[in-house]
Subunit: 130 residues, 2 copies
DNA sequence: TTCAACCTTACAGCTAGTGGAAGGTCAAGT
DNA sequence: ACTTGACCTTCCACTAGCTGTAAGGTTGAA
């Protein structure tokens, strides 16, 4: 099948498929006219990458996961290690954003939001510690 | 003062100060030898930007906030609108990450994490709906 | 034959910087 | 007088993960 069909079957945009190929994450055969040709197995890999990305794994992590996926001698502990590391980062990001949310919420509370120029948000950004 | 001193006084790395100048967020006078010279007011702007960035505002938002900060005829409602919009995005990001966290946590639970190749994480990425 | 719908490569742009190279300036120490 | 080190300058390249666009080639059907 050509790249468009593979895109529809996998959920990855055609541009992204080419991009992943340029990174060495995917490979493709070529037809006589130079068009990329994909098999069902290729589409399976694309779906794998699509799902891994949607779980927030980086492309480097996706590469490692895909390698493990294709290695029958893998140890699941390896996979778990990668996922746990990712989870740690997700948790850190959540905490950071919750901090942000609390700070922003407080500032917004204190800003009248009317026609006057007085604004607690700007005061805080300006460094008025009040 | 020169850029290094302004950097220390504001918390913005010198490289970032130059970068912001290239974006038109900051301006600088030049000494005879071509070196940038900064006043206390300039440092105040840098601190403003530093704080706004640490609250997660984009550079575009920072630009708008800085303009409002310097406009005595501003309405605080304008500032509040920007902050509220940002908060909405922060909340959306948090929700998305919490979804991720839940999915990842479940998968990790189900992966034995031993020497065997069987792994629920890979099964899910491969599309085995189980 | 011509048209749409494919396909190709290559380059630019997005966010928000950071790193490094190559070179200029200046004050202090020897 | 000379050198050293700490500054400073500009410019280009790189990061992540794509997306947009241009310029052109191929194919099947009306």
């Amino acid at each position: 099948m050509q790249i468009k069909a593979a895109s529809l079957a996998s959920g990855l945009p055609a541009k992204t498929i080419r991009y992943y190929e340029s990174l060495g994450l995917l490979r493709s055969k070529r037809a006589a006219n130079g068009y990329r040709r994909y098999s069902e197995d290729d589409v399976e890999q694309m779906r794998f990458l699509h799902r891994a990305r949607s779980l927030g794994f980086s492309l480097d992590e996706c590469r490692d996961l895909l390698e493990l996926y294709q290695d029958p001698t893998r140890a699941s502990s390896e996979v778990r290690r990668i996922a746990e590391h990712h989870l740690v980062e997700v948790n850190a990001k959540i905490e950071q954003l919750q901090q942000l949310k609390a700070s922003l919420g407080e500032l917004i509370q204190q800003c009248p939001g009317n026609d006057s120029p007085d604004c607690a948000i700007l005061d805080t950004l300006a460094g008025d510690d009040r």
